[in-house]
Symmetry: C3
Subunit: 343 residues, 3 copies
Amino acid sequence: MKPQTLQQLADHVSGTVIGDPNIVIESVSTLQTAGDGQITFLSNVKYLNDVKDTGASAVIIAQESEVEINQIVVQDPYYALQQIVVLIHGYRANKPVGIRDKSNISETATLGDGCHVHDFVTISDNVKVGKNCYFYPGVFIGQDTTIGDDCIFYPNAVVFNDCVIGDRVIVQSNTSIGEDGYGFSTHNGVHHKIPQIGRVILEDDVEIGASAGIERGTLDDTVIGKGTKIGDMVAIGHGTTIGPHCLLVAQVGVSGSTDIGHHCVFGGQVGIAGHLKIGDLTRVGAKSGISGNMEGGKSYLGTPAIDASKAKRSMVILQYLPEMKKRIKALERKLEKLSAGKS
Amino acid sequence: MKPQTLQQLADHVSGTVIGDPNIVIESVSTLQTAGDGQITFLSNVKYLNDVKDTGASAVIIAQESEVEINQIVVQDPYYALQQIVVLIHGYRANKPVGIRDKSNISETATLGDGCHVHDFVTISDNVKVGKNCYFYPGVFIGQDTTIGDDCIFYPNAVVFNDCVIGDRVIVQSNTSIGEDGYGFSTHNGVHHKIPQIGRVILEDDVEIGASAGIERGTLDDTVIGKGTKIGDMVAIGHGTTIGPHCLLVAQVGVSGSTDIGHHCVFGGQVGIAGHLKIGDLTRVGAKSGISGNMEGGKSYLGTPAIDASKAKRSMVILQYLPEMKKRIKALERKLEKLSAGKS
Amino acid sequence: MKPQTLQQLADHVSGTVIGDPNIVIESVSTLQTAGDGQITFLSNVKYLNDVKDTGASAVIIAQESEVEINQIVVQDPYYALQQIVVLIHGYRANKPVGIRDKSNISETATLGDGCHVHDFVTISDNVKVGKNCYFYPGVFIGQDTTIGDDCIFYPNAVVFNDCVIGDRVIVQSNTSIGEDGYGFSTHNGVHHKIPQIGRVILEDDVEIGASAGIERGTLDDTVIGKGTKIGDMVAIGHGTTIGPHCLLVAQVGVSGSTDIGHHCVFGGQVGIAGHLKIGDLTRVGAKSGISGNMEGGKSYLGTPAIDASKAKRSMVILQYLPEMKKRIKALERKLEKLSAGKS
């Protein structure tokens, strides 16, 4: 940890100090748990009241608060938080281990300068690795796969053969990249496995969560675009392409051969059918099911997913269904009576 | 297996023998498959008829049955079953292997007496392990993590750095504890990774299923309370706290920063949004979606989840929606006609 | 890759050549990306227009097309595609490695001829393996497990003790077979672990996807029938039996003690409760929730799942719920007025 004065932090994030610029901030914490020497943040005005009660020495905030507390006022407090956590705490320090002798690296594999390979790692024939990559124990890299610079493969991550991994890619633990797609041809009631000859391409700055699986394509490649972040236990089907800067939260499932645009956001447990086109900047609420093409730039919700605000209104009504059914029945009876009385 | 007489079993579970106390029970099986020398159980009166047809030599049951079969009558048959399976069959016997020479244990790690470490296990710097822990092949324990007594880590389980694991914790195969939380700050369309400086704390008697993932906290810790049991492929988000003695069945997903009370039960594939408060003794039906705070002590169902019995009534009506829409239309027409005729 | 003439391919799949039988096909690709020397396929008439635009040298098709392109006309184009991909590209070639010296094979285990065991593989006591099996790095096979011929275990696949694996079984990476079932007896608010003494049986030609989990049975066995294909991140509960030739797509969850017939198809993220009977040839749409026994031979959809066409009609109506509620209210008012005016 590298303590900083409040002024140093404000300078680092191009913010303005309210209060004492000389106090020393030693670490970062949340509104609820922060104490002396800690800085916290308010990214959602919903929690404004918590600022009063915080024990923090300072708060990162979008607008100067009347609460008597040291503040860094900055346009995007959550981004400032990120910058400050990186500055004070930094990312996980991966212990330099060099090339351990209980690893198994093919003689035909090449590794750039500054790579670290733990025990129990397998790097197969003709693999090409760039500079400063880090391989935790139990990692497997299949033959002919290419990896860029500054990548991290966490314990037991598996990358199959012929994949292409960009720079600064992070693959979390127990995750599979390029396993066979779920591709079978059913003939006379028997499912015949189709060789999956496509690859997986992870572009620069992609991160894949734990126990996720990115299937290789049957014929075409599966592509995850630059800067896209994929959560734990996400399943991506064979031949699907996801554009740059998307967010796929935990347990999302995307079937095969679907094309997803850039800057899309899918909440947890969303399911997306195969062979669809999802436009740029699409946002889909958690647990929704997408079964058709989606126009970009909009928010969707529900199964099947429709316009999110419309879906929310419908969801609220769901609980009144039994009552509605009764009211229809009552109306029918009354109307029947009325008609009868009339004639 | 350690065979027992029916009387010995009854004594072990504080039950009463009906029939022959001297028959020898050699193993335990289900009503449908049990045969000679086997004991079975009836925990749900729904299956009472199956008792007549069972080939078992004895049955564990809550109330004496008129069926002519040897019985152990006991208040909680399913708990008695558990005790009897432990007595006769016991838990998986983990082969004593000592410290294998193809493991990699840091010189600064400490292991208590009676630990077993298989080949291909990594135990990193400054890890502290209690007594009688068992590490299957492919397990990785990150630096500065603390582990209590009598824990079992199944093959390829991964525990990241700085985590705290209590006593008698079980982590099933291919599961990740303390991987980075899904925490990004989006600025100008780019997602910036926030260092995840919180820890994961698994309290005593926690069990985590296969291919699950418990994210470490961004700033605060992620905590799984004493005795809580988590199923396969469950995703727990960063900074979430789950109270003691909860059950989270397979494929449940909980987003970050949610607080869950004690003795809650979540059915399979339930999804829970972030930053929520879920009261003690909450029960949520399978596949439900929780998007708001939930009062404890109640049962919920549906997406969004509402009172379970209300939700069930609504779900039954769903199939009548097209009919209801038609009936409304018909009512409108009739009323129109009636009004027209009237005026 | 083994290039073939169009005639050779047609003969291989018992199809008819339209066009030049002597052109050489070097590889297989999709309609959209195929170029010179490549063959593609049309399995769905929906994409008939794409045939005009393809750059492929030939197309596999069910009925002769008027488009001027070389064709193989065959009854089941997708099955023909499978056969042709196998012929030209073949399945993944697993590098012959013999028995590597950094593996750990028990002296009491037996392996048939032609097995390959990578470094960092553990094969435990009394394991029996047939011929030509391939074990990638990080695989763990528990004691007393039996494995047939021609199986492939991808990196970090885990098979627990006492399981029975047939011939030609494929287990993808990071997957668990036979981990403990989620079986606890709750007594006085504490969950007591029940030893899981059942086994897992994978019959011939089963394939299990990445990061999946097949729980062993509590008392009975968990059985996956011959030729059944299971996707990534699928969770199968303890004591469940699945018949032959089923398809369970990614992220499906099946609770314990459910019996599923043969040739059933479950779309992605389907959830199935425990202790149910699902008939043969049942088809369930993606994301559905099954909470009761299902008659075979039918298609179901929704949560709870009902007849699929009925469910689709209801789903379409969901968005009109707020409107329907208003219309009921309006009807009530009008009728009230009408009645009042009348009396």
